[in-house]
């Protein structure tokens, strides 16, 4: 595989990561990554482009339409609650 192929894969993984951090909301970092991916895309040969086109979808789809989690984990202020666990689970009301 070409250097551009590896770079595109790396950018794609970073895009998944950035969207995951921002829970599907748009961000400046995402915009920059998409611009970079667009540039690198045209450095790929047609076989390489086809490989990305036919890959199964990962987590690139926004999660706006997904149902809210029924349970989530929150952090605990261990400064004011010494000896407590740093995380606990909470139910969505």
């Amino acid at each position: 595989m070409s250097e551009a192929f590896e770079k595109y894969r790396s950018l794609k993984q970073r895009l998944i990561h950035v969207r995951w951090i921002h829970r599907g909301l748009e961000s400046d970092e995402e915009d920059r990554l998409i611009e970079d991916m667009d540039t690198v895309w045209w450095q790929l040969d047609t076989d390489e482009q086809d490989m990305f086109r036919t890959e199964p979808p990962q987590s690139l789809i926004r999660s706006d339409s997904e149902a809210e989690d029924q349970e989530y984990t929150v952090d605990v202020d261990v400064n004011s609650l010494p000896g407590s666990s740093p995380r606990c689970s909470k139910k969505v009301a």
Partner: protein, 136 residues
């Protein structure tokens, strides 16, 4: 020793960051903990120990946890041993479902994340690992 780093999201805001904490258990023996094969859940949930170091991007308390890295071991474990264990954990991570728990000798490691990280687990793991190791 309980070393942890987690990525948090301030709910209903776009603010995210990583908070890291180092706890020690001191010389006083805790009878339920076998430090040769530590029970990670027991230490994390019931006996996290005494907080000795921290580095926080956001004020802790009430933030949603997006990912976490837990490391539990005897207080005498050296930073180099921890680093080696975390590197070994990273090498075994590809393809594993989360949370992934792995025992390396007397060091227990766990990495977990909320859904949606598929394909980018290693990026997140490295970020948490780097922040946790800074506390040693």
């Amino acid at each position: 020793m309980y070393l942890t780093a987690h990525r948090i999201l301030k709910r209903n805001t776009p603010k995210t960051g990583i908070n890291a904490f180092l706890h020690r258990h001191d010389v006083k023996a805790l009878p339920d903990i076998d430090w040769e094969d530590p029970n990670l859940d027991l230490v994390v949930n019931a006996c996290p120990g005494r907080l000795v170091e921290k580095e926080c991007d956001l004020s802790p308390g009430g933030n949603e946890v997006l990912s976490y890295l837990d490391v539990v071991s005897d207080d005498a474990t050296t930073p180099m041993e921890i680093q080696t264990a975390l590197d070994a954990f990273q090498n075994t991570l590809p393809g594993k479902s989360l949370p992934f728990v792995y025992g390396i000798g007397r060091i227990a490691v766990r990495f977990g994340a909320v859904v949606g990280l598929s394909g980018a687990e290693e990026i997140e793991y490295k970020a948490l690992k780097g922040r946790a190791l800074k506390l040693l």
